[in-house]
C-alpha cells in the first residue's frame, strides 16, 4: 500500500513533504478499503453515458 500511495501521488503530479505523506497514508488506506463496497456491488447492468437533449447544440452547451 505504501508504494501504491506514493506512486498515485506522483502520477497525479503531487509532490508532498515526507511528513505529510506519512500523515495521509493511513487515510489513504482507509479510503481504499471503504471503497471496496462500491467495487463489490453488482452493477452489471449500469452504464455511464452522455445524454443529449432534443434541442442540443452550441446554445445548450454554452457558458456565457
Amino acid at each position: 500500500m505504501a508504494d501504491t500511495f506514493e506512486t498515485m501521488l506522483e502520477r497525479a503530479g503531487l509532490s508532498l513533504p515526507a511528513g505529510e505523506v506519512e500523515r495521509l497514508r493511513p487515510y489513504y488506506a482507509r479510503y481504499m478499503a471503504s471503497f471496496q463496497v462500491v467495487y463489490e456491488a453488482d452493477l452489471a447492468d449500469e452504464e455511464v453515458a452522455g445524454r443529449f437533449v432534443a434541442a442540443w447544440g452550441p446554445q445548450s452547451e454554452a457558458r456565457s
Partner: protein, 466 residues
C-alpha cells in the same frame, strides 16, 4: 422591536415583508438592527468573514425610497441576507475561505445573487464556511463559525456561517451550497431550515465549485415559508449554466396552503436502524415523533427499501473528491501551502483515484438514481433523520468520518430536492433535524409537507441563548 414585541433581528421574511409593505418597518431599521447584532455577538460566533455595512445601509436607504415611492418589488424587498463566501459578489471579496483566493474580488455577481438583488434583498456580508466547501475547522483563512446553541459544538458544514447566522438572528436568510449535505447538515445542527433544490433548479454560475455534478445552491432560513420565498427568486434557467433547466417555475408559496393529507411518505427503516449508520437514540426518538406527527396530519407512512444505500455514501465521496481534485490540481501543485490541512488532504486523496474508480462510482450512482426513481413511483416523499447525531465537538477530524454512511449524499447523486426542518432537541439542548426528499422538480410537495410539519411542531419560538 416590533409592536408585538418581536426583536427585529428575529423577524422571519414572511413577517418582515408584511411589515415593510405596510411601512411599519423600514429596510433601514432592519439593516441597522442586524449590524448592531453583528457588532454585539459575532465576535464570539464568527459567522461573518466580511461585513459590507456601508453598502448595506446605502442599499437599505435606496429600498426605503423605492418602496415609499410605490415601487414595492415583492416579499424580498428590503430583506437583509448573508451569503456563503463562495457566491461571487461584484466588488466584494469572495474567497471560499481559503488563502488560495485571499485577494479575489469578482467583477460580477453569481446568477442567484443577481436574482436576489433584483428581488430587492440587501447584502449584509459574506459568511464563514469550510474551506472550498470541504475542509474541517482548520481553514487557511478566517475562523470557522461557532454553533449558537453551544459554542463548543460545531455548526456543521460546509455552509457553517449560514447556519450560525440564521439561527442567531445575524441575517434574515442566507444561501448555502450542498454537495454531500452542506446545506442540510448545518441546518440540522443549528436548528434552522435548509433546502437543497433539485439539481438544475438553481443556477450554479458564479459559485465556486466543489464537485460539478453534485453541487446544489439553495436557501437557509428560519421557516419553510421563507425558504419558499427565497427559492422563488433563485429558481430558473440560466444561459451561464447549461445544467440549469428551462422548466416552469411554480408558485412555491402556493404549496404552503396545502396539508399533507393524501401524501405517502416512504421511510427506509432498515437503513435507519442499521448500526453502521449509528443513529443516536435521541435522534431516533425525535424522528419517530415527527413521523407520528405527519401521520396525525393525514400522511400515510410506508416502509421502503433502497438496497444501493449500502454503497451510496462511498460512491458520493469518490465522485466528490475526484471532481474536486480535478478543479484544484493546478493550485495543489503551485501553492499547496495556501490550503488548510484538511482541505488539502481531501483534495490530495481525490488525486489518488483512477479513472476506473471514478467510473465505478458513477455506475453506482446510476444504480442509486434508478432505485430512487422506482421508489418514487410509490411514494411522494422520503423521510429520514437529517443527521444521525446532534452536533459534535467544534474540533474534529473530517478525514476520520470517511466511509460512515449518512442520509444526505444519495440526494446529491439523484439530484432530488431535500429539506432539513427542525424536529426536536436533545437533552443537551442541541437541535435535531428531519429530512424530507421529493421527486425531481417537485419542490412544492417538499415545501408543503415541511411547512405543515413545522407549523405543527411548535419549535418556531425556540431560539439560541444569544
Amino acid at each position: 422591536m416590533t409592536t408585538d414585541g418581536t426583536s427585529l433581528h428575529y423577524l422571519t421574511i414572511g413577517q418582515a415583508s408584511r411589515l415593510i409593505q405596510q411601512r411599519e418597518v423600514s429596510p433601514v431599521d432592519l439593516v441597522e438592527a442586524y449590524l448592531r447584532r453583528i457588532d454585539e455577538i459575532d465576535g464570539t460566533l464568527k459567522a461573518y468573514v466580511t461585513v459590507v455595512a456601508d453598502q448595506a445601509l446605502a442599499d437599505a436607504r435606496a429600498a426605503e425610497t423605492e418602496i415609499a415611492g410605490g415601487n414595492y418589488r415583492g416579499p424580498l424587498h428590503g430583506v437583509p441576507i448573508g451569503l456563503k463566501d463562495l457566491y461571487d459578489t461584484a466588488g466584494v471579496r469572495t474567497t471560499g475561505q481559503s488563502k488560495v483566493l485571499e485577494h479575489r474580488v469578482p467583477a460580477k455577481d453569481a446568477t442567484s445573487v443577481a436574482k436576489l438583488r433584483g428581488a430587492g434583498t440587501i447584502l449584509l456580508g459574506k459568511l464563514s464556511m469550510h474551506e472550498f466547501a470541504l475542509g474541517g475547522p482548520d481553514t487557511s483563512l478566517f475562523e470557522l463559525s461557532r454553533n449558537p446553541w453551544d459554542t463548543e459544538r460545531g455548526p456543521g458544514g460546509s455552509s457553517s456561517g449560514s447556519g450560525t447566522a440564521v439561527a442567531a438572528g445575524l441575517c434574515m436568510a442566507a444561501l448555502g451550497s450542498d454537495t454531500g449535505g452542506s446545506i442540510r447538515i448545518p441546518a440540522a445542527y443549528c436548528g434552522i431550515v435548509g433546502l437543497k433544490p433539485t439539481y438544475g433548479r438553481v443556477s450554479r454560475a458564479g459559485v465556486l465549485p466543489l464537485a460539478w455534478s453534485l453541487d446544489h445552491c439553495g436557501p437557509m432560513t428560519w421557516t419553510v415559508e421563507d425558504a419558499a420565498l427565497m427559492l422563488q427568486a433563485m429558481a430558473g434557467p440560466d444561459p451561464a449554466d447549461p445544467t440549469a433547466v428551462d422548466a416552469p417555475v411554480p408558485d412555491y408559496s402556493a404549496a404552503l396552503a396545502d396539508d399533507v393529507r393524501g401524501l405517502t411518505i416512504g421511510v427506509p427503516r432498515s437503513y435507519i436502524d442499521d448500526p453502521a449508520v449509528g443513529v443516536d437514540p435521541e435522534v431516533g426518538a425525535a424522528f419517530d415523533a415527527a413521523l407520528a406527527a405527519l401521520a396525525s396530519l393525514g400522511a400515510r407512512i410506508e416502509e421502503i427499501e433502497v438496497p444501493s444505500l449500502a454503497f451510496a455514501t462511498e460512491a458520493n465521496t469518490m465522485i466528490m473528491i475526484s471532481e474536486a481534485f480535478s478543479y484544484h490540481r493546478a493550485n495543489l501543485i503551485s501553492q499547496p501551502q495556501n490550503y488548510g490541512a484538511t482541505a488539502r488532504a481531501c483534495f490530495v486523496l481525490g488525486g489518488t483515484y483512477t479513472t476506473g474508480d471514478y467510473q465505478q462510482a458513477m455506475r453506482a450512482r446510476a444504480r442509486v438514481r434508478r432505485e430512487y426513481a422506482e421508489v418514487m413511483q410509490r411514494v411522494d416523499l422520503i423521510a429520514t433523520p437529517s443527521m444521525a447525531t446532534p452536533a459534535g465537538p467544534f474540533d474534529y477530524d473530517l478525514l476520520s468520518l470517511i466511509g460512515i454512511p449518512n442520509f444526505m449524499g444519495p440526494m446529491n447523486q439523484t439530484g432530488m430536492p431535500a429539506i432539513s426542518v427542525p424536529c426536536g432537541f436533545s437533552d443537551d439542548g442541541l437541535p435535531i433535524g428531519l429530512q424530507l426528499a421529493g421527486r425531481p422538480f417537485d419542490e412544492p410537495t417538499v415545501i408543503r409537507a415541511a411547512h405543515a410539519y413545522q407549523q405543527q411542531a411548535g419549535l418556531l419560538d425556540r431560539r439560541p441563548g444569544y
